[in-house]
Symmetry: none
Subunit: 229 residues, 2 copies
DNA sequence: AACGCGCGTGACAAATTCATGACAGTTGCC
DNA sequence: GGCAACTGTCATGAATTTGTCACGCGCGTT
């Protein structure tokens, strides 16, 4: 999936210039012209980066940056602030609000792209994954921990990846071969029945914490993660 | 201690002009006329800022800037690039390489001083990081000291950086490769197992002061700093 | 009711992954 | 120059994890 950049800027000319440069570089660009619009767009497009204008009608870009960095769900998304001011005082305030970089207008598409790439490179590993939670069972890829209603669950590396994969693709049946590809990795030779064993090990841990029936067997097809029976 | 600026420039006239202006303004100036010299000077004088000429005999200033920004120990030191060229292309490359500002020759001592002061002011908060404290274990980046419930803990440079990095990113697992990038610096080739050894050395010191279990091993994933088990 | 599969289980031995202690090369400091 | 502090590597042994089997149970079909 292409990297998506959300451009929050009310001046159409600048916004289009940026969007064009981004798309020419192979990124997917989305835009919003106010903080309110931006929040809606973030929920829809799940951008990997925000280009946020300092001056916006209504809620300022600075406030928005601050609120995003305070939100556990979105705090991982890097932000580059755009501003017409050149005072470094502002720069400090911007960085202080959680911005990852800062571009002073006027700027060239080229400079902008250089910074976009730099920020993405710097934060790439970070935005990979958010915690998943279903019925009190929470898997957090960042801390690499699993909690069942608050209590820690001890899983081996493979069980962890298996559970995480299934939870991020709920209600969907995967054949053993598909699971091997996605959890073990492509071109890895292991018996398909090995999946059964790991499912069993995973279930054993989950059952011990009262979470039964989440990893379901679909006879003749494979396994599925689902909250309902 | 006076703020030290290292001037890396092979043309004596320019170098002296800069050094004189800096000293008149109360800074301590050191100089080098090649990247090799500069590295030696950095180890000796621990400059707070680098004025780096783009064109140097041997390794270019651009390459040097990049390698410094990749080095965990020196990446905090701000860099101002000096160049005879005015192409924006160069400007982008310079900023991309990690430079904090950019001065085009010819320039006046006055302009240079303004930029030097601006960069130092701007990066001050970065270098002056706040102390981090968790469960009585305090790491103070400013004094470069660690205290466990008031008692000083003696750590080597690498252990200090490792602990500080982990403490500023709690509850998050880092692979050995990520730790090497962030604590040792990118482009530094060391065996991944070396991380284990430093973790052990760090743990040994922490355990001696009663702080066990803070640096945790996540089998198959890496290490994590966390207050809870 | 018998049978054929598909799947759950417990047991294992091999393969990984880590913690540790020892060592030698460097560096900075007396 | 010599000493002390640091670093990066290795070898070793212990602790987990992993991939396979073999065995049986149960479901659906005949």
């Amino acid at each position: 999936m292409a990297t998506t950049v959300l451009v929050v800027e009310d001046e159409a000319a600048i916004r289009d210039m940026i969007a064009m440069a981004l798309e020419r570089a192979g990124y997917r660009a989305r835009h919003a012209d106010s903080a309110e619009d931006a929040r809606a767009a973030m929920r829809l497009a799940h951008p990997d980066l925000l280009l946020l204008d300092w001056m916006l009608p209504g809620e300022s870009g600075l406030d928005m940056a601050r609120s995003i960095k305070d939100d556990a769900q979105m705090s991982q998304i890097p932000i580059i602030m755009l501003t017409a001011r050149g005072e470094e005082d502002d720069r400090v305030r911007g960085l202080d609000a959680g911005a990852d970089d800062y571009i002073t207008k006027p700027f060239s598409p080229r400079e902008m792209m250089a910074r976009v790439k730099a920020v993405l490179r710097r934060t790439a590993p970070t935005l990979t994954e958010a915690p998943v939670e279903v019925e009190g069972l929470r898997v957090d890829p960042i801390s690499h921990r699993v909690f069942a209603n608050g209590d820690g669950v001890d899983l081996g590396p493979t069980e962890f990846r298996l559970l995480h994969f299934l939870m991020t693709h709920p209600e969907r049946v995967f054949t053993r071969a598909q699971l091997l590809d996605n959890v073990w990795g492509a071109n890895v030779y292991v018996e398909e029945r090995t999946v059964d064993v790991h499912v069993r090990r995973l279930r054993r841990e989950l059952t011990a914490t009262g979470h039964d029936g989440l990893v379901q067997t679909v006879r003749g097809a494979g396994y599925r993660f689902s909250a309902r029976d």
